[in-house]
Symmetry: C2
Subunit: 384 residues, 2 copies
């Protein structure tokens, strides 16, 4: 089987209210990635997005975006897996490239959440869960994650202030990222004293509502150096699922999808968690960031927060994590976040992360989560 590499990267700043349309956001990121790659031709493209049908009453984003890019003709379609839409779009692009049918593949993802009321966005997020059996109960998406947080704290005897180190880390990293939505230093006390959203989750435990798009260009790895001096190989693209709904789980504090996708990725890549130099995880809520450290194999269950308190996850630590600010501070334009992660990893591994740069980063891992851990996309990238 051939190998695939990232040869170009683009992204818009994440903004609470961009003033741009879905199309404008996507086109900005896609053009930047195409220009960065220095390619003329694009053989196929894939568009990740979760909520355009519900919020913008717009589907058919594949043709819409190809048309807006002046690239009508190319094979393209939208792929969706809730909050993991960006991650699975990457998977679709990688599979297309590996199929031998498409040589240069553009993968992008976009979400526009501004221009709608918080109840509308909240209803939209709930499309990630079972509409008939769960959403009708009145519970919100934040509420479901709050149940996970409460159970996690109880089961492993973890305090809120320990979990709160995760958003503090992210906000610190975002200070150096000009594309970040929230460039504001916060403390653990700020988190604990912020407004209660769904007990125990407080405002600073939760990622915000934002607009954004990110994109990468893929090419066969053996040709990659003809396009750029710093290509990044996609060693593995792995997707796994779990039961859709939280009520179907025996265990709330482990995302089996994360475990499965990571295990498969490490196995196929012949790598272990020790080989990872930089990590991007799906910290839509503090507890998810901590759980990710455990489920992906970097910490024992219940001990994820130790990697925060001992500095392991710092940008100058052994496992730099969410180095551009993560979902919490770079921002979480839902269906695009998984693509931001991949784009940011590619920047790190090509030594182009500027003020966010991690030293000597050669191998990176991203984890994108859809719904309540119901879909997880893991990508393992490596400098070529």
């Amino acid at each position: 089987m051939g190998k695939v590499a990232v040869i170009g990267v683009g992204m818009t700043p994440v903004k609470s209210s961009s003033g741009k349309s879905l199309t404008e956001l996507f086109v900005q990121a896609a053009k930047q990635a195409i220009e960065d790659a220095g390619v003329n031709q694009v053989d196929a493209m894939y568009v990740g997005n979760m909520m355009s049908g519900f919020l913008q009453n717009q589907e058919h984003l594949g043709s819409l975006m190809a048309s807006a890019l002046g690239r009508e003709g190319v094979p393209t379609y939208k792929v969706e897996a809730a909050c993991a839409s960006g991650g699975v779009a990457m998977n679709a692009g990688v599979k297309a490239a590996l199929s031998g049918l498409d040589r240069i593949v553009l993968v992008g993802a976009v979400e526009k959440m501004s221009g709608h009321t918080t109840p509308q966005v909240t209803a939209g997020l709930m499309m990630a869960e079972d509409r008939l059996k769960v959403a009708t109960s009145g519970v919100t998406f934040v509420g479901l994650n709050a149940m996970i947080a409460r159970e996690y704290m109880h089961k492993y005897n973890v305090r809120h202030d320990e979990m709160a180190q995760f958003p503090v880390l992210c906000h610190g990293n975002a200070l150096d990222n000009p594309n970040a939505q929230f460039r504001k230093k916060i403390t653990v006390d700020d988190v604990l004293q912020s407004a209660l959203v769904a007990d125990p989750l407080r405002l600073y435990d939760c990622s915000g509502i934002g607009d954004g798009a990110a994109a990468v260009v893929l090419a066969p790895a053996e040709e990659a150096k003809t396009f750029t001096d710093t290509p990044v190989e996609v060693v593995v693209s792995s997707v796994a699922t779990d039961t859709l709904s939280l009520y179907q789980r025996k265990e709330l504090t482990i995302f089996e999808g994360s475990r499965k996708a990571a295990e498969e990725a490490f196995k196929r890549a012949h790598l272990t968690p020790n080989d990872i130099d930089v990590l991007e995880v799906h910290d839509a809520f503090s507890v998810l960031g901590v759980m990710a450290l455990e489920d992906l194999g970097f910490a024992d269950k219940g001990s994820g927060t130790k990697l925060l308190s001992d500095g392991t996850c710092n940008r100058d630590g052994k496992l730099p994590t969410n180095t551009f600010g993560g979902l919490k501070a770079r921002g979480h334009p839902v269906g695009a976040s998984g693509m931001y992660q991949v784009a940011e990893l590619a920047l790190q591994l090509s030594n182009r992360a500027e003020k966010c740069q991690v030293r000597d980063a050669r191998v990176g891992l991203s984890q994108s989560v859809g719904g309540i851990g119901s879909t997880v996309a893991v990508h393992l990238l490596r400098s070529l």
Copy 2:
């Protein structure tokens, strides 16, 4: 590159009001396909659908359906390209199989349109076009197709009664299909005298609103005969796009996406239109069925209706077309129709089409159209 074959087929009857949920519809078709294939394991699955976000306020259909099938864990996501969602889901499944990453792939597509008012469904269909620039003008999706019909009739001097032969053909074929939505013989006069929907399109020129799901199971072609005596090879899966919107086109009566997808398919397969024994085209409106015959290479521009009047498209003709009733009479559960076509072709090419069976069918072609010809998926299938 390896080859891929269809080893199992499933579909629900298309109904104006099924009384079933999106999940129940998908599961019925998927279980039937899995049982037909006789497989235990499924390595990946893809779900085609257009309108679940808008109509059911439900996304994340990949995990939802995997979970409902008791197959949580498998990699899966939703793929969407408006009315071609079923066709592009097939493309995603084929690429996954060709990538070498997934051996047994389930591809299904589902749409539930019942339980909503016609204005709601009409608004949903318009998500296939540009919401900001076109939908806001007030034109409907039928209205756009009516403009195409008017231009086609004018440009090629084709009469309505000539185009009306298409739905008559489809209704005739559907009489033998127990899964068809409309099993009622109609005449050209019935079409011409039916209610006006959007001039010149009348009720019987237009496919209806319905619920349905269809699915196939894919396996490596070289293993296919271990599962079934009658596997059907997917010779080519090809997707092409055009400008999203009708106003962006210089020419309304040719779908360049159809031409491009078909040309690529024939070229890659080393086949010509003369090799096609059975054809399934996207006749959402009479004019589109006629145009498909031309754009795919079976008739010169403006002369598609001749293949209807001379009997070529009849089930016992040289080019049996829409042999189970097509979108018009089998039904058009929008995002699922492209998958029904592939499933029906697979039945034809494995000599399992029962009363709809075409004699000596060895090679088949399906064409699934998204939006106003904005995305087109073409599949070339062959008996193994």
